[in-house]
Structures are given as structure tokens and as C-alpha cells.
Amino acid sequence: MVGTFDLWKVTKTTLFYLLVIFIVVESVFPFYYAILTSFKTGTDLFRVSYWPDSFSWGNYAAVLNTGSFPRNLLNSVFISATTVLLALFLAITASFALSRVRFRGRGLLLMTILAVSMFPQIAVLAGLFEVIRSLGIYNTPWALIFSYTIFTLPFTVWVLTTFMRDLPIEIEEAAIVDGASPWVIITRVFMPLMWPALVTTGLLAFIGAWNEFLFALTFTSSNDTRTVPVAIALLSGGSSHEIPWGAIMAASVIVTIPLVVLVLIFQRKIVSGLTAGGVKG
């Protein structure tokens, strides 16, 4: 076989890369088209083209200078960041208890937490609305932080509990012998080892809060308290029949940028094998 042209191998490689190209194009194209559209103005918008042939910042200027969009962006940043911090704090402490402290009803509690996340948003919308009204936080950022935290926690708690359960028990015991309190164990021993899990769940919680629409629409009523997804949906053109596609696309691109930046910052933190070397193996 030496020196012969291996047709099968070439075919396999070709098919593999064709598949890769197909998957990449299929998943990236919608975003590419959104970016493309956001730089078009006027009637260009309705001319289908796949290459950037016209270029203008007009839509971006329009979105950022009109209405309350910058305010909405700040709302989104504040709400998402607070939700992530709150959810991670609660989830870390909860998962420590759920994975390391033996108490009656622990299994039941874990299952309940999972069950809570099975309800669709719409099912709890009315009840949650009443709760938020009675707490007096309707139409404030806290309404959204409150409801997002509720929906983020089950997932976060589950992931962190599973992760913490896999941390070697001897490391915790060594810390206990060294005189560490549970809080010291969590913050100085476990958290540095849990970076990958914290970053992953934190990022997912952020994206979830950032893109959420239904609660944001229901629990806010004024332009100044809305978050970006709702603001984009409510962007209106010159008349009720005109949909401002250019502005919507520009706003969408602006909204996506923080997520991309976050992922780029944190992806280098997501390194595996952080626990290597602590215990045998």
C-alpha cells in the first residue's frame, strides 16, 4: 500500500470539513446577517445581499441617541450582574450545605429544587406578579433581580452541588484540622478550586438574565425601567406600520457585544484540572 493514493482517507477528510463548514455557516449566518443589516439604511435594508456593500453608523447613532436605550442598557447590566452575584453567593453556600452537611431531608430538598425549575415561566407569572406587587418592588430593577434569581438558582445550585460533591473530602478535613471554619473553607479552599464551575454557571446565569423577555415585559411598565430585550421589541418606527429593522439590528448587535466580551474574558479562567495534585493520582 505504500505510495498509493488513499482515496478513502481523502474522502473522509473532505466530508469531515464539509460537515464542519455546514455547521459553522448554519450557526453563524443569522448573526452575520444581523451585523450586515445593522449597517444598512433606507431601502438597502430590503435588498438581499450577502456581502457588506453599504456601510453606515446611522442605525447605531439613532438607537443610542433616541429614547431610553442607553438607560435600558444600564438597567440590563445592573440587573444581570446583581442577579449573578446574588445567585452565586446563595448557590455556593447552599451547595456547601447540600453536598457536605448531613441533615434530614437533604435528598428531598434537592429534588424539590429541581422540581421548581420544571415549571414554565408563564405558569408562575400571575403568582409572581402578586408577590412582587405585595413586596412593593413592581416596576423597579429589584422585581427582575428577584424573579431571575428564583429561576437561576435551581440550575446553579444543582451544578455547584454536583461539583462540590466531587471535591475530595480529605481536603476539607485537612482544612478542619488546620482550624478553618466553614466560611473559610468555602472562600479560601473550595472557591479557588471551583473557578471553572463558578464561571460557567455565572456566565449562563448572566446570559439568561440578559436575554430574558417575559418577566421583563410583565414586571416593568415605564421606559426607564425596561431592560434591553423589551426595549428592542418595543422599538417603533415613524408609523405603526413601519418596523425599524435597521435600528433593531443595531440594538441587537450592541446587546450581543457584552456577552461576547464576557465569554472572551472568562474563557481562559475555564481551565480544567485545577484540583490536580492535591490528592493522590
Binding site: P168, A174, G179, V184, L274
Partner: protein, 335 residues
């Protein structure tokens, strides 16, 4: 300096009782080894002394003071774990200093000095800036021992510290632990192992545990020469003591006769017993001859130097008169 007393200590996990009432007095500065087969409760007993498990009933006292409810860090103990249990994200220095940094009022220079002294003692000074994952197994275990030394404990606890090391390193580390005990003569050490060789070579006294109860406590030679039960006789010593029961033991007035391989002599004829050689092992300095003679397990004879017996040979053996252990039907010695 700490004298440790256990008074009727029991530990149950739910309905399962693991430690079934242990009375033991560990003298100050002593090297005590807990040994026994797996599942005998020796690690649990160590964890009770450490405070990592709560004592179900009974009393544990350090120097006469009951410490049942005291947190591990308040008992003046340090522990070395089987799996090293180093903090993976901290350097060797930080691993060793962690306990001290948690104590209020210890200043940085003092911590540095103590860590450096311990590192010097264990010859790990060149690795102080490294992470655990950059060390070999033996080095990691030395760091774990160093972390324990730095805390300047009254009681040093070892939970099978050599089990994860390879054979050569195990012997080397064993010697280091023995030297450590000599240099820290006022520190009480408790060492858990299932390996009776470690127990024999390290211990001042050995505590043999079986099913959550103390089987016998004594110096290695006491256990070797005067075992208090069939179990201890069979557990201590390598190769295992030969047990000859039934009719062959009757002339000795015992239910079971125990003779160690090194206390059997091969005779040209007219031995006490005779058997067929089924296997021989030559180790150079000594050699083992395995005989089939109707006992539960083959009888082992230990000979000096190399032997020339072959499978199928019939040999006669006699025990040395003063080295015979006689046991009654309950497994208790007849003396």
C-alpha cells in the same frame, strides 16, 4: 506532651456500631500503631481521636481533660492523610502555612520561620514555591507531614500515610517517620495501618483491632512472642503463623497449635509431623517451603539461605520446643 485516654468509646453510624467500646491508654510521647484488617474500625478510631467524627458514647481525654466536644483544631492535633489532602491551588509554602495564618496573632516572620524549619527537616526547601501537582508522590507526602509539623502539635495522627507510595518509597518514608518520632520525642503519635510490617517496625506499642474491639495491646515483641488470641497470632508476623488443629494437635494438649515458619525445623526422619512439599520460594537470604499436611492452609517453613527441596518431596518437621503456641477451642492461649 499528651497522654490520651479512651474510656468505653463507641461509635455508631445509624444502626451500625463500628467501634464497640474501646478502653485504651496512649502514653505521652509514645508511638502507637492501630493495626487490623480492613473494616475493623481503625481509621474510624483515629478520626474519633482527631475529632473529625463525633463520639457516640464514652469519653476521650487528653491529659485527663475530656475533649469529646472540642473541635479538631482546638485539640492540638495534626493529621497526615492517606491521599495527602494538600490544597491544590496553594504553593507548598502556603499549604504548610495555611493553619498558622488562620490563627490570630501569629506574625508573618514567625510563620515563615516555622515553615522553613519544617521544610529543612524534611528536605523540601527547594520545592516551597511549587504547586502540589508539580511534585512526586513521595514529595507530596513529605509536604503533608511538613504541614502537620508546622502546627507544632501535641498529637500527630497518621492515617495510612504510606499506602499510596510505591514499595521503595514506602520503606524510605517509613524510615523518615521513625526518625521524625525520635527527633520529636515529646509528641504522641498514632499511626493507622493494615500493614503489620509497618506496625512492627514503627511502633512502641501496637493496638490490634478486630470488629471494633481491641484484640490486644503490647509492644511488637510481646505481640510476636505472646499473642493473646489466634487472631493476633495469625495477624502479626510474616509469613503468617502456621495453625495445626485436630488430631495432630492433641499430643500437645491443645485444640490448635501455632508455630511460626522460622520455628519449624526440618528433620531427616522421625519429625513431629510430616508433609509433602507443594511449593518453594527462594528469596536469597531466606527461603520458604510450603508443605501440604492436611491443615486448612499449607504449612510454611522458613529456612536460612537457599534450599533444594522440590515439589513432591516428603519431609519431616518438628517445632522448637519453647516456641509453640497452644490455643483452646475458643482461640485463647493455653499457658
Amino acid at each position: 506532651m499528651a497522654n490520651i485516654q479512651l474510656r468505653n468509646v463507641r461509635k455508631a453510624f445509624g444502626a451500625v456500631e463500628v467501634i464497640k467500646g474501646i478502653d485504651l491508654n496512649i502514653r505521652s510521647g509514645e508511638f502507637m500503631v492501630f493495626v487490623g484488617p480492613s473494616g475493623c474500625g481503625k481509621s474510624t478510631l483515629l478520626r474519633l481521636v482527631a475529632g473529625l467524627e463525633d463520639i457516640t458514647s464514652g469519653e476521650l481525654a487528653f491529659d485527663g481533660k475530656v475533649v469529646n466536644g472540642l473541635a479538631p483544631s482546638k485539640r492540638g492535633i495534626a493529621m497526615v492523610f492517606q491521599s495527602y489532602a494538600l490544597y491544590p491551588h496553594m504553593t507548598v509554602f502556603d499549604n504548610m502555612a495555611f493553619g498558622l495564618t488562620l490563627e490570630k496573632g501569629t506574625d508573618k516572620d514567625e510563620i515563615r520561620k516555622r515553615v522553613e524549619n519544617a521544610a529543612e527537616l524534611l528536605q523540601i526547601t527547594p520545592y516551597l514555591a511549587r504547586l502540589p501537582k508539580q511534585l512526586s508522590g513521595g514529595q507530596r507526602q513529605r509536604v503533608a507531614i511538613g504541614r502537620a509539623i508546622v502546627r507544632d502539635p501535641k498529637v500527630f495522627l497518621f492515617d495510612e500515610p504510606l499506602s499510596n507510595l510505591d514499595a521503595a518509597l514506602r520503606v524510605a518514608t517509613r524510615i523518615e517517620i521513625a526518625k521524625l518520632h525520635e527527633s520529636m520525642h515529646n509528641v504522641t503519635m498514632i499511626y493507622v495501618t493494615h500493614d503489620q510490617v509497618e506496625a512492627m517496625t514503627l511502633a512502641d506499642r501496637i493496638c490490634v483491632l478486630r470488629d471494633g474491639l481491641v484484640e490486644q495491646v503490647g509492644t511488637p515483641m510481646e505481640l510476636y512472642e505472646t499473642p493473646d488470641s489466634l487472631f493476633v497470632a495469625g495477624f502479626i508476623g510474616s509469613p503468617k503463623m502456621n495453625f495445626i488443629a485436630g488430631d495432630k494437635a492433641k499430643p500437645f494438649g491443645a485444640h490448635t497449635v501455632g508455630v511460626r515458619g522460622e520455628h519449624l525445623v526440618i528433620k531427616p526422619s522421625d519429625g513431629t509431623w510430616s508433609g509433602t512439599v507443594i511449593h518453594t520460594e527462594n528469596l536469597g537470604a531466606d527461603s520458604y517451603v510450603y508443605l501440604e499436611m492436611g491443615t486448612e492452609e499449607p504449612v510454611v517453613v522458613r529456612l536460612d539461605g537457599v534450599n533444594n527441596y522440590k515439589s513432591g518431596d516428603v519431609v519431616h518437621i518438628s517445632p522448637m520446643d519453647d516456641k509453640i503456641h497452644r490455643f483452646d477451642a475458643a482461640g485463647k492461649p493455653i499457658r
